[in-house]
Amino acid sequence: MSAEKKVLLPSLVKKYLMAGSGLILVLFVLGHMAGNLQFFGPPEMINAYAYHLHHLPGAPVSLWAIRLFLLLCVGTHIAMAVLLVKENQAARPQKYAKQGFRKADYAARTMPMSGLIILAFIIFHILQYTVRNVPENYNETIGEATFEQAHGLPPIEYFDVYAMMVKGFSNVGISIFYLVAMALLCMHLTHGVASMFQSIGFRNEMWRKRLHTLAVAYGWFIFIGFASIPVSVIAFGHGKAYLAEKEAEWAAQTQQAQTVQLAQADNFKEGR
């Protein structure tokens, strides 16, 4: 008889938390992709979208509430993964000479590893496009753009997200890392989306194949959606003309500002 293990969180509760947090992240990824695809519209489109995301009703409290909620989901997903993997490894202390597989596909067997690389990507991604100081300080190198508002309201000057995306993805290294991360996300989703239903009990032999097909289709849909952006910038130079035009404009603005500053300094000296 083996010694009884102290159980703090039942195995199935861990699975529910994994599936629940996974579902929210799966839906977030879809929304995020839909937002990003506005990149293929006029620059004003995604710039206006970014402005409105940051100025939701009740901002900044509402914005931070959403961010904290997503962070909580990511945190739960990771914490459950760590607990589950630790227990699973402990349950098989002596390995087989060679473990045979009949059903488990590559995606299923590499979930912890793909998840870990995606986590590294998320951290980098937030530093690059949310904090905007990796690999360069976009807050300084990217200026503002104007977009019109509906109902005759005055136009708004706001940070040029479109230009930042073009600039960010013009870096081949970053684009490749982005594509690799999206491929791994696609793989992670092909197992995760189907597993989600099993973990909460909504799957049977009839639906198993359908849900697997749905998961694979969803994974590819997400991959193609996200990958299209760096590919369009790197391979087709999408938005590069706009970026060059804007950069020239901002350079002129900076120069003008400097001239004004110098003139003011001169006036100050002369006035003395």
Partner: protein
């Protein structure tokens, strides 16, 4: 046929084991896998060596005693087959065969290829029964059960408790076993009364024994000699969730 065997030898639970190689000649392809091991043991006894200990009983594929992992596959290369029903015609002359016991922390190796599966008994003791009075048999069809429900319960009850699901699962999870044993009763009117209590007790017993967690690989279903499906794990997940919710609110009354 001639075979190169690589067999796990372990003196007892406290002594670390290791692989040992044996050459076996002139094995009939009509012999079963266990008969092949019998031939090996006769040869070992003749040479004055200790025979290989392995579990077996009915040799008809229904008792759930035989428990060998052959070349990394629980119960060998065939599907819906126990080791005792596997025949040497599945192999070729000159094949190398690695034979190991079930490997999982809750299944300690007793000797060579025999493991202690008491952990399964503890799960059954937690809720794999109904607490009804066992009097004289009642009249047939006194409790009406729809045929599809009876069929599903029978599919779950086909589990012979061999433990191949745990052996094949890379996580050493016993969820297929536990779900089959809880579902066979939860599906039927006789078991419904204690459904919530049963599923909660059996899941916590399963966790306490130190089994791993299901990650939906599907390896257990692929090796199960009785072809029990992951549907029962889904059912257990559902039953457990509703049991927890009902249990939570029942405290309020």
């Amino acid at each position: 046929m001639n075979l190169h065997l690589r067999v796990w030898r372990q003196k007892n639970v406290d002594t670390p084991g290791g692989y040992k190689n044996y050459e076996l000649k002139d094995v009939s392809e009509d012999s079963s896998f266990l008969e092949m091991l019998d031939i090996l043991n006769e040869q070992l006894v003749e040479q004055g060596e200790e025979p290989v200990a392995f579990d077996h009983d009915c040799r008809e594929g229904i008792c759930g005693m035989c428990s060998l992992v052959i070349n990394g596959m629980a119960h060998g290369p065939e599907t819906a087959t126990t080791v005792c029903q596997l025949h040497m015609r599945s192999y070729k002359d000159g094949d190398s065969i690695t034979i190991e016991p079930w490997r999982a922390k809750p299944f300690p190796v007793v000797k060579d290829l025999i493991v202690d599966r008491s952990a399964f008994d503890h799960i059954i003791q937690a809720g794999g029964f109904i607490t009804a009075r066992t009097g004289s048999p009642q009249d047939a069809n006194e409790i009406l059960i729809p045929k599809p429900t009876a069929d599903k319960a029978m599919d779950a009850a086909a589990c012979i408790g061999c433990g191949a699901c745990v052996a094949a699962c890379p996580n050493g999870s016993a969820m297929l076993f536990t779900s089959a044993k809880s579902s066979q009763l939860n599906l039927l009117p006789q078991g419904k009364g204690e459904k919530d209590k049963r599923v909660m007790a059996m899941v916590s017993a399963m966790d306490e024994q130190g089994f791993g967690n299901c990650t939906n690989y599907g390896e257990c279903q692929a090796v199960c000699p009785k072809e029990i499906t992951l549907d029962f794990i889904a059912k257990m997940n559902r039953d457990y969730a509703t049991a927890r919710v009902r249990n939570f609110f029942s405290k309020a009354i």
